[in-house]
């Protein structure tokens, strides 16, 4: 025992180096598995404040771009107004003098929470956004994030007033996507090369695809509502060794100029996750 202490005493620097190095590796590997950083809430609060202050300056310079995005989005929404579509009226309506009860009972599934982007990176292999909206304002882990032109990412970490979003431009990001025209589903990844192009995998060669086809979020995703724009196909890579296409997708979202996004809350998320994570008993 005494010798051990003597050894540590003599090689104190080396031992402390090894200990700290191991600590780093543990933090790194733990974070990659769960996306929960050590002391993340406190650190998030601090870095978020710095981000928020600087973002106030940045926003000023991109007002023009924000205006353009908003007017484009407005035009798109107006375009899909009910009043724009006329159905020839051939139905008859029965009026009864009582209160009607909605027997279908529609209920809300998705809530949209607007948030300001206060931090955004695109230059590294693992890119994140910081939003100025946190746990107190209703953001939870696992919620999806939608920009004015297309989807942006998924919330991975929440502190009291800020939240961290794993951008689509992250080497570990994976989003379920489908082709708008025939609903064939695949998965969206990023290869780390160019921030304006994503990769769509697992589209079978039987499906008839063309350049310019629109890719949207699929029905299978728990956090994203379906049919949100992701991008358009720009290149079809035909690998003869597999039965699947690898497609290059131009992102709908312009990640260079994100200022305001919507965090989407799926009210049934917890229920769906609970069901999907229960282990199925096999026949024994």
């Amino acid at each position: 025992m005494k010798n051990i202490f003597l050894f540590i005493g003599r090689h104190f620097t080396f031992v402390s180096f090894i200990v700290l190095q191991i600590l780093c590796i543990i933090m790194l590997s733990k974070y990659n598995k769960t996306y929960e950083a050590f002391f993340s809430a406190t650190a998030n609060e601090l870095t978020g404040k710095v981000n928020a202050n600087l973002s106030n300056v940045y926003t000023y310079f991109s007002l023009k771009e924000i205006n353009r995005q908003l007017s484009v989005e407005n035009a798109r929404l107006r375009d899909s107004l009910k009043a724009n579509f006329i159905a020839p009226d051939s139905t008859k309506k029965l009026v009864t003098d009582t209160v009607t009860i909605d027997s279908i009972k529609q209920y809300r599934k998705f809530n949209y929470l607007p948030a300001k982007v206060v931090g955004n990176t695109i230059s590294s292999q693992t890119n994140y956004l910081t939003l100025e909206r946190g746990f107190k304002q209703g953001v939870r882990k696992g919620m999806s994030v939608l920009g004015p032109e297309g989807i942006v990412g998924v919330v991975i970490d929440v502190s009291e007033n800020f939240s961290r979003v794993m951008s689509l431009l992250h080497r570990n990001s994976k989003v379920s996507a489908m082709l708008k025209k025939d609903n064939v589903a695949g998965s969206i990844e990023w290869d780390g090369v160019d921030p304006s192009y994503l990769t769509l995998r697992n589209i079978p060669k039987s499906s008839n695809i063309q350049k310019g086809d629109i890719v949207v979020t699929s029905n299978y995703s728990a956090n994203f509502p379906s049919h949100l724009p992701i991008g358009t196909i720009t290149e079809i890579i035909n690998d003869p060794s597999t039965n699947f296409y690898t497609l290059k997708i131009k992102t709908a979202t312009n990640f260079y100029s994100l200022q305001y996004v919507d965090v989407i809350e799926n009210i049934q998320y917890a229920e769906q996750m609970k069901l999907e994570n229960t282990k199925q008993k096999s026949n024994e």
């Binding site: 700290l20 780093c24 790194l28 870095t47 990176t121």
Partner: protein, 179 residues
């Protein structure tokens, strides 16, 4: 200005420059990421205690990690260069002259060639380890080789420019200099 005040100022300055200027630059290529922040560790004084040096490097790397949300990724290479630094300095500078008369490593205090070698080696080791960790998570061998070469070149260029822009007066440690 006292050494502690100066280095605390540098700590904050390098973190902010790295996160809000260099990381905001639109990427030219997948391999090109400008890194400058570790120059803080290269500029720490000669006389600093080895354990303290490790601790400062660890905290410094971790601070940047919390800004970029990658806990451990920058702290690990910072620790490594902080550990190697004293050994390298012992090899490169004439004993018992420089270390006693100058405060921190610079062109003037160490001489042009030894200082350049010191910067080049530590920059290379830092990037080698940093990209190695990244490579273990994703990427292929060409990514590894290409990124180490490209980032080292970019960093050396940045360090050269920084040395030119912020010319540090090589201060003498002994009283003789003030006479």
């Amino acid at each position: 200005m006292s050494s502690i005040v100066k280095n605390s100022f540098r700590f904050v300055f390098f973190i902010l420059i790295q996160r809000y200027v260099l990381n905001e630059i639109p990427p030219l290529h997948q391999f090109v990421t400008p890194y400058l922040y570790f120059l803080f560790i290269l500029w720490l004084p000669f006389s600093i205690n080895r354990f303290l040096l490790l601790l400062i490097a660890f905290l410094f790397g971790l601070t940047l990690d919390y800004f970029t949300q990658t806990p451990g990724l920058h702290a690990a290479p910072c620790l490594l260069i902080a550990y190697i630094r004293p050994y390298l300095l012992n090899l490169l500078i004439p004993q018992e002259t420089t270390e006693q008369s100058y405060i921190e490593p610079s062109f003037k205090s160490m001489g042009g060639a030894p200082y350049s070698l010191y910067v080049f080696l530590l920059t290379f080791i830092h990037h080698f380890y940093l990209v190695l960790i990244e490579w273990l998570q994703f990427g292929d061998f060409i990514f590894f080789i290409g990124k180490v070469a490209a980032t080292t070149a970019i960093s050396l260029l940045l360090i050269f420019v920084t040395e030119m822009l912020f010319f540090r007066k090589a201060k003498f440690k002994t009283n003789a200099a003030y006479l």
